[in-house]
Amino acid sequence: MTTAVADGWTMTRRNMIHVIRAPEELILYFTLPIMFVLVFGYVFGSGMQVPGGGSYREFLLPGVFVMTMLYGLGATATGVALDLSRGVVDRFRSMPMARSALMTGRSAADLLRALLEMSTLLACGLLVGWQWRLGVGKALLAVGLLLLLRVAITWVGIYLALLVRNPDTVGVIVFPAAFPFTAISNVFVSPELMPSFIGAISEWNPLSATVAAIRELFGNPGLGGDSWPAEHAMLLAVLWPVLLIATFAPLAVRRYRRLSR
């Protein structure tokens, strides 16, 4: 157990060194959400409505926070797929290290990365007029929910990489696979304003649960109507990620073991 923690930490440090030595990737992942804030907040934003009134940019920012967590999927999946394709994983597997370290190290490093991304994004948010209105405690709780979602997404990403293996393929499929989850959700538009069928899908989207929950915790506008998922956003924002972790972590571990077949 102690070796699992020590090896996991060694692998976490390895992945953090990647961020320091090759910051281009991190910068790419920063530019994307900032671009969305600018495009949606300033270009399309004037035509957007927020149910119950309020600033669209203040409505948008929690959605962009969640979107950033989702796009971390790309970093996780390509990182793991690169290791697999370059034989580094074979070296790790031929060494007397804890088998879990590769995945726990990746997960922990991605969490640290997400923390870095979040603090930068919160600062950017403040610059464009977003704010938390209900105190630091609730704001921190919201950040906690975001990081929980990121952990869930990390495990989806690890599984995806083990399934697809080829880093180029992973790079190509991640964004088209992730984009519908942000489009058909409450990230940009309130589901109340969508056709009822799509609105219902949007409300049950795991991302929407976290978005709705953090809007509530930050005291931002656009709290969704009176549907069940909208009223239980806080519960779902915990349940969905936990469910995803409980599904994808064992799947990833099983896939990892199957490398020796």
Partner: protein, 329 residues
């Protein structure tokens, strides 16, 4: 008594209907370089991956450094090094950071890991490039870094899977020198290669594998002598005479000569060296064939390979059973 550092008995590995390994046997004596020689797809890499605990097998048993590969994989992993066909290093990390990372994972303390990384970088001529990303290294440097990573804790058994594939001659010689010095320090090396020269240069013993089976086993000299040992090579003056020369030589040597019209040469195994040579020269003279050059030489490993497997090592594998099974005591 010889101790064997790597033992495989009747290993079998299937992928669907394909048998990647089929009753594969191997005994690698301690302190030697052992070559696995075979064409692409013969099962060399499968064998190494199984012995390095990366791959499960369906039949047989295997021990490495005295430990059962299946039941005591961690004991095995603590005593082996592996350098595969792809340089398995982290391309973003610097050379030094790579070695420190692997050192930590090999349970070295922080200071020990740093010190060991420094030693290895110096030994492998990488100290000047130590802080550059491994991704910027040349092919040869990367392979050296990869080898260094396999040696963090001087392994009892080192697996080298085609360690010089894709390297220029100079880098290849460096790798060979490193292998020799490791063996001098007591490491046992299991090497796979498609290059006969490499096996000839480095290996004390060789197993020739084809279609997942060992088709021959012995020292390089033993393998060469399996083809009938010595060969007579004749160069005729006039290329038109080559076929007739072959007809004359064949009954004397009891084997069909190989012809190379381009260089006007024929080459054939000869049973009793000098007497055979005299016979050949006399018969050609009687037949009125003008001869430019005659020589007697040992068979090359290349010819041994062709004889044993029915094809050259760099050609795709023929249907199973094309080769001849040869037993050597």
């Amino acid at each position: 008594m010889t101790t064997f550092e790597v033992v495989a008995e009747g290993l079998g590995k299937r992928y669907g209907p394909t048998r990647a390994l089929d009753t594969f046997d191997l005994n690698v004596p301690a302190g030697t370089v052992y070559g696995l020689l075979g064409p692409n797809g013969a099962g060399k890499t499968t064998a190494v991956r199984i012995l390095a605990t990366l791959l499960r097998f369906d039949a047989g048993r295997a021990t490495v450094a005295g430990y059962d590969v299946l039941r005591q994989p961690d004991e095995v992993r603590a005593r082996i090094g592996l350098t595969g066909q792809y340089a398995a290093v982290d391309e973003i990390l610097s050379g030094r950071q790579n070695l420190e990372l692997f050192g930590r994972l090999f349970r070295l303390g922080r200071r020990e890991a740093r010190q060991r990384a420094g030693e290895l970088l110096e030994r492998f001529g990488l100290d000047e490039a130590a802080s550059r990303s491994a991704g910027e290294y040349s092919g040869g440097m990367r392979r050296r870094l990869d080898l260094a990573a396999s040696l963090i804790r001087t392994p009892r058994v080192l697996f080298l899977d085609e360690p010089t594939t894709g390297l220029d001659p100079r880098s290849r010689n460096q790798v060979w020198d490193l292998v020799r010095s490791l063996v001098a320090e007591g490491t046992t090396v299991l090497l796979t290669t498609q290059y006969l020269e490499e096996a000839d240069q480095l290996a004390n013993r060789i197993s020739v594998i084809d279609a997942g089976r060992v088709v021959a086993e012995g020292s390089p000299d033993e393998l060469k002598s399996m083809t009938g040992g010595d060969r007579v090579e004749v160069m005729v003056r006039d290329a038109a005479d080559l076929h007739q020369a072959a007809r004359v030589v064949e009954p004397i040597c009891g084997a069909e000569p190989e012809l190379d019209p381009e260089s006007r040469r024929l080459s054939v195994p000869v049973p009793d060296r000098v007497a055979g040579l005299v016979h050949v020269v006399r018969a050609l003279d009687d037949a009125g064939i003008a001869v430019e050059d005659v020589s007697l030489r040992r068979a090359t490993l290349d010819e041994a390979f062709l004889y044993l497997t029915g094809h050259r090592p760099d050609e795709a594998r023929e249907p199973v059973g094309a080769g001849r099974k040869v037993d050597v005591a």
